[in-house]
Symmetry: C2
Subunit: 416 residues, 2 copies
């Protein structure tokens, strides 16, 4: 699978906030995904703190082992920002003032009526030989013994901007002969991780020369397929063949779409195709399902309204539920879920509606209806489906899983 011409990179992210667990390393995830999309492979990701010696040590470690190096963080003007000093130490180059950058920075500060400060002084110092990239932010390029090194700010939107505008394009220009890589992520609904592992084990990935990974999400499993080949056509072909095998093994009807097609998008397309409008009545999910459906641009074409009926009064007033029904079965029950879906459909005058009621916890459970008990219903003019679920986990997990299960119910109800 590893072609000899494969281009291998190192990523070095700098910041105490990651080592202290204050924030996750979102920059590393972004950079890794962007590189893989373009057919580059990271060998390792190193995260170190704001310590000059260790940054310098790892910089040399990276330039000695990789075809390219990306560094993110530590470029700011404060004492804690040690990247430039580390570059100077590791590569044996002095820090000098970049005259173009100094001029720009002076103009910029003058425009804002601010004085030239120590911080500006530090910001305008770069390692000798560095090429400034993204003038309005920290960031530069430096070649060290033929290894291109990209130094990016740690601020996520600035890093993303420079990755998109400069780094990826520059790498593609420098390594035009790299093997072609294609990737696809398939979403499967209503399958269990263990089941997937078992069934995919039978797929001879070695023979297909495919990367196969699967990642359990909430009531959904993502199967990632990757193929590398010298010829782009061959890579695509192998990926397509691999996809067919995976679909056969896991069940074509369980695949809802690709990575960029969350279930809310898929049901949106189904509704548009039928020229149907929908509504949703939620109790325990508290607006989560409406929120997911309306997260899709253009949802106003098929989403009419949502009722977040938390109190019994709201269920009666907005959805027309009879008090007797609530008293006879309790608010968390199949008949109430069904009446909520039916009521939402009728009040909103739409073709299809969901009703969801349950106990998200951690309080409110009973022996008969423990925390995690959720009833959901989907109503159309001709059909009404009710499901009872028993979910596990904390309040947030139960709500998220219930929302996903409700979208799955809607999806299946809309499938031909």
């Amino acid at each position: 699978m590893n072609s000899s011409r494969e281009v291998l990179g190192s990523l070095l992210t700098i910041g105490d906030e990651i080592l202290q667990g204050d924030i996750p390393n979102g920059n590393a995830h972004h950079i890794a995904a962007e590189l893989r999309e373009k057919g580059f492979r990271l060998q390792h990701i190193f995260t170190v703190g704001d310590r000059e010696e260790e940054i310098a040590e790892m910089l040399l470690h990276c330039t000695n082992r990789s075809h390219f190096v990306i560094v993110s963080g530590g470029l700011g003007p404060t004492e804690d920002d040690r990247t430039n000093a580390a570059v100077s130490r590791a590569f044996g180059v002095p820090l000098i003032h970049d005259s173009v950058y100094v001029k720009w920075l002076k103009d910029e500060l003058a425009d804002r009526g601010r004085p030239w400060t120590e911080e500006a002084e530090k910001l305008s110092e770069l390692p000798q030989g560095a090429l400034k990239i993204g003038q309005e932010m920290a960031g530069y390029f430096l070649e060290q013994e033929n290894v291109p090194c990209y130094f990016l700010p740690g601020v996520p939107h600035e890093m993303k901007y420079l990755m998109a505008r400069f780094v990826l394009a520059d790498l593609e220009k420098r390594f035009p002969q790299r093997p072609h890589y294609v990737k696809r992520v398939l979403r499967f609904q209503d399958v269990f991780e263990s089941e997937i592992g078992h069934r995919l084990k039978q797929v001879d990935v070695e023979a297909w020369n495919l990367e196969v990974g699967y990642y359990p999400q909430l009531r959904e499993v993502w199967v990632a397929l990757g193929a590398t080949a010298d010829d782009p056509g061959e890579a695509r072909m192998r990926l397509a063949e691999g996809e067919m095998v995976v679909l056969e093994r896991l069940g074509r009807e369980k695949m809802s779409g690709y990575k960029d097609d969350p279930l809310e998008k898929v049901v949106g397309r189904q509704l548009l195709q039928k020229s149907w409008k929908m509504a949703v009545a939620e109790s325990c999910t508290g607006g989560l399902v409406a929120q997911r459906i309306t997260s899709v641009s253009g949802a106003s074409r098929y989403f009419d309204r949502g009722f977040v009926t938390y109190s019994n009064e709201a269920k009666m007033a907005l959805l027309g539920l009879p008090q007797e029904l609530l008293q006879a079965h309790g608010a968390v029950s199949g008949p109430v879920a069904q009446a909520m879906a039916q009521g939402a459909m009728e009040k909103a005058r739409v073709e299809i509606a969901l009703g969801i009621t349950g106990i998200a916890g951690p309080t409110g459970g009973s022996r008969d209806k423990p925390v995690g008990t959720v009833y959901m219903a989907c109503a159309t003019a001709h059909d009404s489906r009710v499901e009872k679920h028993q979910f596990h986990g904390d309040r947030e997990t139960i709500r998220q899983v219930a929302g996903q299960a409700a979208l799955q119910l809607l999806w299946r109800s809309l499938c031909p």
Copy 2:
């Protein structure tokens, strides 16, 4: 700030899926945060792929530089799992069968009616000297030249279990004399990152011997304070003093709470204190505000209902908005936001309600009302506040930021 007795650790996470950008390194974030809570400090986090030589190289790198090492991933039964082979290579110890573990695994497989397989064979092999931890999952402890090394599975819930049950307790036992560390994260509303940076620069953190970090969230900035001292009382005192200084600099009235107190929790407490109930009418946020408010356990005591009025018909039918109002001002306007809040308050018969209407994009914008234009209102019996905002970013960002701004408006309306 760095006490000489500080206990420094290395974290080595193994897995191609992180290097390929398939999943973020959630394990690293969890382990880093857990260690910091207990007063241990990670020097670096290294992520490498499923390659024996590099795992071995980095293992030695870590044991040569740290007081303890945690390794996560690569312990499974497949060909890709190379951690044990790397340990054997790096530490010069053979892999041997752990007889207790072999017996347990054999019984376990027999119970499930499964045969002894090559995978079981591989799973039951451990480096000589390893102590199995968490028998029902992969994981072991090994001391290498007085450096305790913890090998944990990459499966998140198994890793979390072993961290909580074994690793942290064992580290605390081994390093009882480490300096005491306390930490607190403060949430500030309606402040800008640049402003915070500027004001906190005046705080002499060196003199206070405090760690200060600030992390911009959506329309909210988190300020993290950490204090290390030999005496726990002294650490707490320094933290409390530091907090007072930060509050003074940034404005006490802008702090909404600590890390575990998101705004939805704070407004919940405010409502309970007033014995008020609330409702919300949402258009562009599509249920997001209702969802956040109901994410808090016990929200049914103060949240009555939510209206997700996406269509104009829904706005008229559910909130009683006159068609003329919608025609005169357009659905995205101050008067409509105000009428939505007022309508929600009256229809739900509650003391306070929010109304939100805007253009989340990417389509639907105009010259007068570009994408990101959001009007929001908060109505009570005596008071009505309307705000116009211009947000930037993609659809999801605009919705999230609008939701946060709406909760801020509610929070300020409920403040004494």
